[in-house]
Amino acid sequence: METLYDSFRNHGLSRRDFLKFATSIAIYLGLSPMAYAKMVKELDSKPKPTVIWLELQDCAGCSESFIRSSNILPTEVLFDLINLQYHETLMSASGKSAEEAKEEAIKNNKCDYILVVEGSVTPKDSGVYCTVGGKSNYDSLLEASKYAGAIICVGSCSSWGGLPHANPNPTGAISVEEALPPSDREKIIHIPGCPPIADVMLSVIMQYLVEGKIPKLDNLRRPVAFYGQSIHDSCYRRAFYNAGEFAKSFDDDGAKNGHCLYELGCKGPVTRNACSTIRWNGGLSFPIQSGHPCFGCSEPNFWDNGHIYEPLASPNSDSFNKTVGAGIVAGVGAGVIAGAVSKWSAKKAQQENKNG
């Protein structure tokens, strides 16, 4: 049985490299110094986790992100840190032998393997919109999820339906949670994002391996360690928001001076993710640091949540003139009619008093 530590040593990496890796994971997860010792011990002794990676209706962007984990090389992630048994894009096997590898992995690791799902599910019209090996992605998902120890939905497509689910949703795309029976939903961990940060995906897998249980999740089943804060809360431009200093275009003085991108449509205040803390490419940068507003890719239905460059607090309507016009017309009409009626009835009453 090859442990992660063995794997590091077999590739000419030192114990120091291993400790650095374990430290990074512990820091990402926000663990205490005591938990860090446990992390090292468990990673040193536990077998590599078996992973089955299903790609449903996806663009493979989450896989691309995953293999660009910053602390370790892609090959190390794929071949050394996890026991990747099935991945349509990355595995060398194809056709029948690939499907057999998946079935074998499910059979040999019942309730012990991690199922990673990328992409949305398309059960509509008997699942005709996305099939692999003659099976609809819906059937493949049900088959692989039944005996999984944990189901990790990577990316916004598997977590919420994502881009395929966006209006008008021609393929009837749904999230993994919607597709699974209630009994299997308890095993789900959402790691949304388009794509999610590689280090976050890896850390969640490692945490599951070390603790043997689903990590602490929020109400949308996202790990609190990475999705417990909004991007706005920890954004380095936050001070400019509080000071009311906003960039109004991508090339004005505000933008050049690094002011808040709220007015350019930044959705950081409503987006839970670790982009502003862990950042991308080894902590190098993230979209806001590069001068572009966050468009909330890790939040449910972000494609349908209004225009990307529309300020968050501005009303979602393009027809104020119509609303105001309708209010004026209706108000004038109702006011004049009510006034005329009361005048008429007052006159009538006066007349009756005179007569009577």
Binding site: S230, D233, P269, V270, P300, N301, A334, A338
Partner: protein, 241 residues
């Protein structure tokens, strides 16, 4: 023409309990904002025309001066007249000063702070002038303090205590909530609850919009008409001139 999309969006209200905080925010600043804006405009215009239809009584007295000049003078100077009555001002200094400041602070807050600028740009299509954060904060805290003082002074004075009804207290409470939720939305950090805080602020502002036409808060619209008619009236006759 009936906007089908609007009614479809508004029908989402039946799912309000199951909405996520971001969905709720989108609902509040989407169809609910359109609805509250419509009710606000409809209510104010209705009220205005209802009053307009009552007509203006004819004053048969021979004008002692220019009614038009008197109207303009009153519109411009009426808010300052109180400072001419020193004995009234000395007895109600707090109410007058706090009232004056509250109205100015509240109006400036609505239109001229950085966090509202893009809302008005979206609605009016033009970019308004806005103050910096320091002045905006002074306006916000100043409005809260002056409103609280005004509210307390209602209780302190036996006459205003008797005159104040549920309408006044509810209006004060609602405006105070709008102000405080706005300050909290601006200062909030941590726990990722910004969508809920922002939703609360916008929702409270919408409730205020809906409430205004049906309450005495609509005085902001009738005030100028009333002052103008008053000015015209004393331009024709009146003991004070």
């Amino acid at each position: 023409m009936v906007d089908i999309n609007f009614f479809q969006e508004l029908s989402q209200i039946s799912n309000i309990a199951s909405m996520s905080d971001v969905e709720l925010l989108n609902f509040i600043k989407g169809p609910l904002f359109t609805l509250s804006l419509f009710i606000f405009i409809f209510g104010l215009i209705y009220k205005f025309f209802r009053i307009f239809m009552l007509g203006i009584p004819t004053n048969k007295a021979k004008p002692k001066g220019s009614p038009f000049a008197s109207t303009i003078k009153m519109l411009l100077l009426k808010p300052l007249y109180v400072f001419g009555f020193k004995d009234v001002l000395s007895k109600r200094t707090v109410t007058f000063i706090a009232g004056f400041l509250f109205h100015i602070f509240f109006l400036l807050l609505i239109f001229f702070i950085p966090w509202h600028e893009f809302v008005w740009e979206k609605i009016l299509g033009i970019e308004l002038f806005y103050f910096n954060a320091t002045i905006s904060n002074i306006l916000a805290y100043g409005a809260v303090v002056s409103l609280v003082i005004l509210w307390l002074s209602r209780f302190a004075n036996p006459v205003t205590r008797l005159l104040s009804g549920k309408d006044e207290h509810f209006a004060n409470f609602l405006i105070l909530l709008v102000l405080i939720s706005g300050i909290v939305a601006n200062k909030w950090a941590g726990e990722a609850n910004y969508p809920t805080v922002l939703s609360s602020h916008i929702l409270l502002a919408e409730i205020l919009l809906i409430y205004i036409p049906f309450s005495r808060l609509s005085h902001f619209m009738t005030y100028f008409v009333s002052v103008a008619l008053y000015g015209r009236s004393i331009g024709i006759s009146g003991a004070r001139e």
